[in-house]
Each structure stands twice: as C-alpha cells, then as structure tokens.
C-alpha cells in the first residue's frame, strides 16, 4: 500500500466557510435567548435542516421532546434559568466562529437534555448544582451573572472552574469545580461529535469540523487508499440509517 501521507496543506473547504453561513441568519443573541435545544432547533431555518427531520424516522425520534417544544422553553430536565447558563457555557466551549458553527447549533443542548433523561436524577442534580455555582462564582468574582459577562470574562471564569480554582470559593461546587466542567465538556463533545441519532451533531457539523470521513459498513483497501490520497468523499449518515441495527440498550 502506498503511503499517501502527504499532508494536504489546505484543508478541504468547510461547509460553513462559504457565503451562505448558517449563523448569518440567526444571531447569537437569538440562540442564547432561545436558551435551549428547543430554541436552537427551531431557529435553524427549514432549508438548512435538509431532509433529516422531515423524512427520517431516526432523526424524528432523536428530536422528539425538543423540536416539538416552543422556542425559549427550557430543557426538559432544567429550569429556564439553568438552561440559559448552560447554553452560554456550551457556547464558549465550542463557539460559532470563522471556522464554522459551534456546539449550540449542533444542538449539544438537546443531546445533554436527552442524556440527562437517560442518566437520571443524580446527574440532573449535578448539572443544577454546578450551573448555580457557576452563576454565583461569576457574580462574586466578576460582578455579574454568567450570561451577562463579556465573552472574555466568561472564558476566564470557565478557566477557574476547569482548573478547580473555583472549588474553594464557597459558591456551591460539590468537590472540585473541575469535575462539573469535565462533565459538561464531555457531554458537549458527545453532543457535537457523536452519532446524530442521539439528537446532537446536527447537520454533521462536528464531523465536518474534524473531517471525519463518516460511518461506513465496509472500508475496502481501495477506500483506504482513496482516503490517504484525500480523494474519499465523506459519508454523512447516522449508523441507524443502516436499517439492520437495533437502537437503545441491548435486551
């Protein structure tokens, strides 16, 4: 097999690099105000949703409980106030920027909501406690609620939380503030880069960002050679569009 190791210096153009950038039609403020999966899902223009939610039973199922809710509604498992703090945090973790849209537009919030339903009350409580502590920490150390801080101050507060520096501030973090940060980060990454079946990675924005060539059932030697020659077209589908697979937990 050939090496095919030469790095293509110019990455392939990103779907949202072009003039029709998704976020141009939705302001950041709209998304954050909408505060949640419901809002983010509802605000993405129909033309950009492709055919997924309309025709795919899988993605329909994935969005149940979020897309049906009115814009501005909180997540199923959190209050409106908690949801808006979480939305602001997730937006700083993977922001929308010149490289493309971020975790909010990927609907990482919808993913987190569904995951909390799956994991149960203890995890919901961890989110509630952590989000309230983040908000208090912002007020005590930067003089305003987290959602009211500038992006720069939000980032510096989040660095304190990530490194555990906010743990001892008496604002209500249980154990290390870093545990809360890592939990949210891990779920945000799952909701941005995981299979869209679970409600996140909407329009495959996560996979596009890292040039993941996609879910395939069989990758032949020729496919691998094409991949190494930068000639393999990315596949964009959920594993569950391959109808052979059972969803949910095994029996």
């Amino acid at each position: 097999m050939g090496h095919g190791m030469t790095k293509n210096p110019q990455k392939k153009s990103h779907p949202s690099d072009g003039p029709e950038q998704t976020t141009s039609k939705i302001t950041r403020r709209d998304l954050l105000k909408a505060a949640g999966a419901a809002g983010a899902a509802a605000l993405i223009p129909t033309s950009l949703k492709g055919t997924s939610s309309a025709t795919s039973p899988i993605l329909d199922g994935a969005m149940r409980g979020s897309a049906a809710m009115p814009p501005g509604a909180p997540l199923m498992n959190l209050t409106a106030r908690e949801t808006e703090i979480l939305a602001a945090m997730v937006d700083r973790l993977i922001p929308s920027d010149k490289l493309g849209i971020g975790a909010l537009e990927a609907d990482a919030l919808g993913y987190i909501d569904r995951t909390l339903s799956e994991l149960g009350p203890d995890s919901v409580e961890s989110y509630r406690t952590g989000l309230a502590a983040l908000d208090r920490y912002s007020e005590y150390t930067r003089g305003a609620r987290f959602i009211e801080l500038s992006e720069r101050d939000q980032d510096s507060a989040l660095i304190d939380v990530q490194t555990g520096g906010a743990s001892g501030a008496g604002v209500g973090f249980v154990g290390s503030s870093g545990s809360f940060f890592n939990m949210v980060k891990s779920h945000t990454w799952q909701g941005t880069f995981g299979d869209p079946h679970y409600g996140g990675n909407r329009e495959f924005v996560g996979w596009d960002l890292i040039d993941y060539p996609g879910v395939r059932m069989r990758v032949t030697e020729e496919d691998q050679e094409q991949l190494e020659a930068e000639e393999l077209e990315p596949e964009r589908r959920s594993a569950y569009e391959l109808s052979m697979f059972r969803t949910g937990r095994p029996r």
């Binding site: 097999m1 050939g2 090496h3 095919g4 190791m5 030469t6 790095k7 293509n8 990455k11 990103h14 700083r92 973790l93 993977i94 922001p95 920027d97 490289l99 493309g100 971020g102 799956e118 980032d155 989040l158 660095i159 990530q162 980060k185 891990s186 990454w189 799952q190 941005t192 880069f193 995981g194 299979d195 079946h197 679970y198 996560g206 996979w207 960002l209 890292i210 040039d211 993941y212 060539p213 879910v215 395939r216 059932m217 069989r218 990758v219 030697e221 496919d223 691998q224 991949l227 190494e228 594993a239 569950y240 391959l242 052979m244 697979f245 059972r246 969803t247 937990r249 095994p250 029996r251």
Partner: protein
C-alpha cells in the same frame, strides 16, 4: 430451598473466552455439558457502529452482573480500598470476547521459564527478592499443539515468524516455534503503519503485524474484517471478530450435548464432606437453582473465579473452596496498561478506519529478547502501534501543550490535528509479589449482598523500570517516524482493576504455592477445574486471551482422557 435440577456430567461457570472454548471438545466427546452464563445472547444487530453506544454509554456491556461485582482496589494493605471507574468486562454468551480487541498472541518461550532462564543467564539474584514468581509446570512446547488447535478453531490472522525453527523476518523472530503458519494472513496495514514499520527498520528493530482473532479474509463461513473503525468495545456487525459465541459455542450446541442457561447468576459451589465438588448454586431473577454435576469447571474472569472460591465455604474448606493452603487470591498481578506514550505528527495519519488489533508490533524489547546485563530489571514490553480513531475521542485529544482544550483556539487546533495524534499500547511484564493479592472486601457487596473482591496490588520497582525503559524506546520510535511532540504517562503505582488480570488460582506442581495442578484441576478438590488467566503464573508482554483458551482446551482434553478418574 433451591430447585434441584437433573445432574449433568460437566457444568461450566461462564460461557466466555475460556469456558466457551472448553465446551467444544467436551461436547464433541459426548459429555453432557451445562453452560451457566450470567449474560444473554447478543448478535450483530446489537453492534451498531456508534461511538456513544460503545465507548460512552457502555451499552454492549449492559448485562451488568460484572459491574455490580466490580472489585475495590488499593495499592497496599496500609490504605483503604476504593471502588473507582468502570470496567469493560461483560457478561454475555461469548463474554468480553464479544467486544474485546481480539489481539491473539501466544506467549513467548521465556514466559514459561522466567525463574530458570533468569537464573541461568544472570544469576538468581536478578529476580526481585519479594517476587513469588515460579516457572510454569511445563514449557511452551507442551502448549503449542493447543495454541495451534485454538488458532484454527476460532480463526486467528497473523504472520508467522518461526515455523519449526525457520525464522521469517516478516513475522516475530522471537516467537516460539510453531508447527504451522496462522490459518489466515495478517490484517492489512495503513500508510501510517507502513511509515512506523519503516521507522522501526531504520532503528534496526524488527516490526511485524500482530496476531488477531479477527478474520482478515472469509473464514469458516464468516466474513472478513470490514475495518469500519468501531471495533474497540464494540461487537462486530459482520461477525468477523471470533468470539466463542460465533465459533466454538455454536459447534458445541450442534452436537446436542451442550445446554446454555442464560442470565444465570452463580453464587456458590457446593462440596461434600470428602471435599469433592457436587454442583453449583445459581439464581435466575428471584428463582434459586442447584445444578448437580460430576465435574465443575470454573471459567469466569480472574476476579470472579477467586471470589466464587472464597465465597464457597464448607466443613472441608473453612477458608473457601480449594483454599486449605491459603493460596486462593495469591500471586495476583495485572498488566501495566498505563505509562502510555502519545505523539503528535505533522501530517494526517488517516487512521479513522482501523481497529486496535490492526497494527505494528515490536518485540525486540520484550521478555528476555535483549541482554538485561546492564539493566536493573527482568522482562520488558511489547510496543504496539495501531490504527484506531473515532470522532468524539479524536476531538477530545490532548492539545500537546498548545493552549486550552476548548474555545476558538482549540477549534483551530482540532481542525488541523484531529487525525494527527497517536497513542501507543505497551504491554509489559508484571511479576507476582508476596504482598500483592486478592481477598474479599470487608465493606462492599454486590446486589445480592455478597462481598466483592478487594485488590491489594502495586507496581514495584521492576515494573516501573520496565515502564520507563519502554517509554524511552517508544519515544525513539515515534521521533524516528517524524513525531513533533511526545507525551508520557506516569510510571504507575496502584494496579487498580484490569482487563488483563492474572493469578489468584495459580497453576503449578506444588500445592503449597499453587491452587491448581499442571492440568488446571484443583490440588484439593479433584473434580474442580479452573479455566482462564487466573491460572497463569506469568504475564508475558502480550494479551492473555489466546493462552487462556489454549489452556482451557488442554484442561478439557485432559478431563476427557481421564473421565473415569475425574468424575469419580
């Protein structure tokens, strides 16, 4: 009162990698075999290529008897044991082999003779003073026919390096002589793996493709590997990963002599006054059963083999079954799977479509394959470079010191580097020591109220020295291949819970220091056999599954040949 079932010839506790293999020769010999399995049957429809399902929610491993009995661990007896982390061992027909990496190695000849070979070459004092290591009761040649048989029965792909003494440098020149090549060629390589092999050659090393219980081509009616990239902790949707539930178990069922009871949670073994085992107690839901048997084969994972013995007390065995010499739980050790080395390359590795068993191995620094005269340790490590990447884990990669791991700066970094990082897997010799052992935890119980295993074990100077030495070799290799950043994990302290756990029911001639005899049967209860890596006395620098399967086949063959004696 448990419901008394009809007696059977053999009951096997656990239909996993070892028990699922032993069932075949027994059933083919015409013995009535009952296989008790805590899990259920899973099939390819349960194995979606879905990273969230496999790697973040652990759904393939859902039947969680294993999870509820997860051991606690501590470094030494001076500290309290904690229960931390999850554990990928699973209950199912096929056991953890349903989703394992399927690297399918034979041990090297040195692993069977660590004490005598070390004494011969360097003097006895080279062996760490506190180690309880013994030679195996037999050498590599004794196990070779069983390795050969299992490689063919389940299907192993690989490149032979030594067929009857003829060295082939495309394979592992350090392996013991094998009668025949592997039944299938090795899994294919990618461009990056070729690059790593080239770099190893420039260093004067001997790279080769590792062996895998994964079809590299159609075999025995099942498909070849699809290289779809979701093999790690995932079952195979095309049935190319050769778990017993696809290989030996269906053949054993076809004889009509094997019956499998699923969701059977075994609680204890029963003994008579003379010390013979009479059968097995198990629970299905809230129903209790007693399965009488002439012979019991314990074939769980190491922790559960030891736990069931310690939980099964009687007048003949007041400290637990087969524990009248105090050896159950002793000589415990696990592979040092930490102390990793990772590297960042200035080019894409194109490793999205691979699997952990597809890779380049270096055995030059394992076992006694190099002169240890100038080193303060015995043993070594096998360096393994594989092709395995999925999107969430790729996006969660280290930034190698290039700023924080979130935000716009990170986005820029990950867009460039998501496919440029690599983590090696270095399996290293671990010795057994006097003060590393398993016992029952005094505080923590499973959902039935039975104590779980407590691991008291620590990597010692020998293991830490190997870790540092092999990290140096790995960094050399990465740098030779063009890596621009290299990071290392710590050298290790507490062993913790492991997927490569050995000992606790060690095999050997001497009943004073071993639980089972050289055939894998108890020194104390003659109709009790123990299968799995819990009988192994040395770790080697490679995965244990094929060796435990070869040993299981050998124990079964011995039982068949000596049935009249063994069944009493």
């Amino acid at each position: 009162m448990p419901r008394q079932l009809r007696s059977t010839d053999v009951v096997i506790v656990g239909m996993g990698a070892a028990g699922g293999v032993a069932a075949l020769p027994l059933a083919e010999a015409g013995l009535d075999v009952v296989g008790l399995e805590a899990g259920t049957w899973l099939d390819q429809r349960d194995f979606a290529p879905d990273e969230i399902r496999n790697n973040y929610r652990d759904w393939p491993m859902l039947v969680k008897k294993c999870e509820n009995e997860r051991p606690t661990s501590r470094a030494t007896s001076a500290t309290n044991a904690n229960r931390v982390g999850g554990h990928p061992m699973m209950n199912a027909v096929g056991g953890t082999a349903v989703h394992y990496w399927a690297q399918s190695w034979r041990l090297n000849p040195w692993d069977f003779q660590v004490v005598s070979e070390t004494a011969r070459r360097y003097g006895r004092s080279k062996i760490p003073a506190n180690s309880t290591v013994e030679d195996w009761p037999f050498g590599y040649d004794e196990l070779e026919p069983y390795y050969d048989r299992v490689e063919r029965e389940i299907g192993v792909s690989g490149q032979a390096g030594n067929v009857s003494g003829n060295i082939d440098l495309k394979g592992n020149r350090f392996e013991g002589p094998r009668k025949r090549p592997y039944p299938m060629p090795p899994l294919r390589w990618t461009g990056f793996l070729e690059t790593m092999a080239d770099a190893a050659h420039s260093l004067g090393w001997h790279p080769f493709p590792g062996p895998a219980a994964i079809n590299s081509e159609r075999y025995d009616g099942r498909a070849g590997c699809a290289y779809h990239g979701f093999c790690s902790k995932g079952g195979c949707p095309v049935n190319a990963k050769n778990s017993p539930h696809l290989t030996t178990i269906p053949k054993a069922l076809d004889t009509g002599n094997l019956r499998i009871v699923t969701q059977a949670h075994v609680t204890t073994l029963e003994m008579d006054g003379e010390g013979r085992v009479t059968g097995v107690n198990y629970v299905v839901g809230s129903e209790e059963y007693f399965q009488p048997a002439k012979v019991v084969l314990l074939a769980c994972y190491t922790y559960e083999n030891v736990r069931l013995l310690l939980l099964s007390k009687s007048s003949a065995y007041p400290d637990g079954l087969s524990n009248n010499h105090g050896q159950v739980g002793r000589h415990y050790f696990s592979h040092h799977q930490g102390a990793a080395v990772s590297a960042l390359f200035p080019f894409d590795l194109k490793s999205w479509y691979g699997l952990p068993a597809q890779g380049v191995a270096i055995d030059d620094w394992a076992d006694d394959n190099f002169d240890h005269a100038g080193h303060d340790f015995i043993g070594g490590g096998n360096l393994w470079v594989m092709s395995d990447r999925r999107p969430i884990s790729a996006a969660s990669m280290s930034t190698y010191g290039n700023g924080r791991n979130w935000g716009s700066g990170w986005k820029q970094f990950i867009r460039e580097n998501a496919d440029r990082s690599h983590s090696s897997y270095i399996q290293k010799t671990t010795l057994p020591y006097e003060d590393n052992y398993l016992d029952l935890d005094p505080m923590v119980t499973d959902e039935l109220g039975l104590p779980v295993i407590r691991i008291t074990a620590q990597f010692k100077q020998n293991e830490r020295a190997i870790a540092e030495f092999t990290q140096n070799r790995m960094e050399e290799w990465y740098r030779e291949a063009g890596a621009i950043e290299v990071t290392r994990g710590g050298l290790g302290n507490s062993m913790g819970i492991s997927t490569h756990a050995y000992g606790g029911t060690r095999m050997g001639h001497d009943p004073e220091t071993n639980v089972v005899n050289p055939w894998g049967f108890s020194h104390e209860a003659p109709n009790l056999g123990i299968l799995g890596a819990s009988v192994m006395g040395t770790s080697g620098a490679r995965n244990p599954t094929l060796t435990s399967q070869a040993l299981a086949w050998r124990s079964a063959a011995h039982l068949i040949e000596n049935w009249e004696d063994a069944s009493g």
